[in-house]
Amino acid sequence: MKKVVQSAAEALEQVGLKDGATVLVGGFGLCGIPENLILALRELGVKDLTVVSNNAGVDDFGLGLLLQTRQIRKMVSSYVGENKLFEKQFLDGELEVEFVPQGTLAERLRAGGAGIGGFYTPTGYGTPVAEGKETREIDGRMYVLEKPIRGDLALVKAHLGDTHGNLIYRKTARNFNAPVATAGKITIAEVEQLVPVGDLDPDQVHTPSIFVNMLLKGAHYEKRIEQRTTR
């Protein structure tokens, strides 16, 4: 088994990602984003991407870097408030956006990774989110049918990874990384620390190695903080 690659660029090279692909990206705000893989995606220059990510980064970091280079055609997100570039491209009609409630987004990814063909959620019933979707009453309550999301590629970031691809996230950096990791045809994980097989306690593994096709130790971590708030 050889999943470990030397760099994010090498990983993407092996994937052979095409223009127009759907890429799932873990993280919440800037917390736990696969920053090395995003940079490599920018270097690769693939365009017309559909990117599924809870947020869209900020102007000069995270997915904002792919907006700068106009590589993203469509974003599927729950909240994009922190990005002026996003706003401009959206208002200019260059960028398409699908807003998905955060819990629905997480569950659609989970369903995608778990082979579930869809699910009924009470979220969004009677709102613009339910327009054009099947609704039904179940035990006296109204639900909306939501479909799974799968990606050509999934990019996640973990704190620890072993050479088989078992992952352990740290604190709230787990967020969307765990469901995203399950929902890619190919999943690449970048980690802050790469350890030999046997070094991770199996009881503590968050994402089992079966979901991870390739992994690498990130070359550099800025781990930028969006809202530094202190006592």
Binding site: G29, C31, Q102, T121, H159, N175, I225, Q227
Partner: protein, 217 residues
């Protein structure tokens, strides 16, 4: 409620909705301040939808951790007894009815308990985040907002005019002028508290929604 009250007074009133042992999600803005008014001796566990139960105070300068934030993307700390989890699990807690109480802001609330708080047509849409899941899933949903908008128009309406966040899901509305319960079956609000400096007529004059009066003393 006292007239002209500050954000803190609204947060203080909202804190009266807390009960010992509650798991609570607080929205961004005034609802976040409710954490400052948890009564002495009461334990409530604060949920952050990005994957944390047991939000603690903001960190000291040296404790700031990029991997530990709240749903508003602010750096926070975790209290003893806290847990971390992924986003799918976090929203299982919300939609599954495990969150006892959600407190959030709103642009409009209707007398049937509908809420609009995520988009204004013609303006840049930032997204609903977790709000639609929270209003659909929490056991009890409390709105804290100003009674009227900047032009003086009532934010308590017969029907919401803005695109909805959720239908018939609000249980209580707290404003600087009054507190209303929502009678979802009767599709009307019930005035249970008001600013003692305001007459009933004054409350009616600034409230478009229908309400009946059942003031508590």
């Amino acid at each position: 409620m006292k007239s002209g009250s500050s954000r803190e007074l609204l947060a203080k009133r909202a804190a009266q909705e807390l009960r010992d042992g509650y798991y609570v999600n607080l929205g961004i803005g005034i609802p976040t301040l409710v954490a400052n008014y948890v009564p002495e001796g009461m334990t409530v566990v604060l949920h952050s939808e990005n994957g944390l139960l047991g939000i603690g105070p903001f960190p000291e300068d040296g404790e700031v951790d990029a991997d530990l934030i709240n749903a508003g993307k602010q750096t926070v700390t975790a209290l003893p007894g806290a847990s971390y989890f992924d986003s799918a699990t976090s929203f299982s807690m919300i939609r599954g009815g495990h969150i006892d109480l959600a407190i959030l802001g709103a642009l409009e609330v209707s007398q049937a308990g509908d809420i609009a708080n995520w988009m204004v047509p013609g303006k840049m849409i930032k997204g609903m985040g977790g709000a639609m899941d929270l209003v659909a899933g929490a056991q009890r949903v409390v709105v804290v907002m100003t009674h009227n908008d900047k032009s003086g128009a009532s934010k308590l309406l017969k029907e919401c005019t803005l695109p909805l966040t959720g239908k018939s899901c609000i249980d209580l509305v707290i404003t600087e002028k009054a507190v209303f319960e929502v009678d979802k079956q009767g599709r009307e609000l019930v005035l249970i508290e008001k600013d003692p400096d305001l007459s009933l007529e004054e409350i009616r004059a600034c409230t478009e929604a229908n309400f009946r009066v059942a003031l508590k003393d």
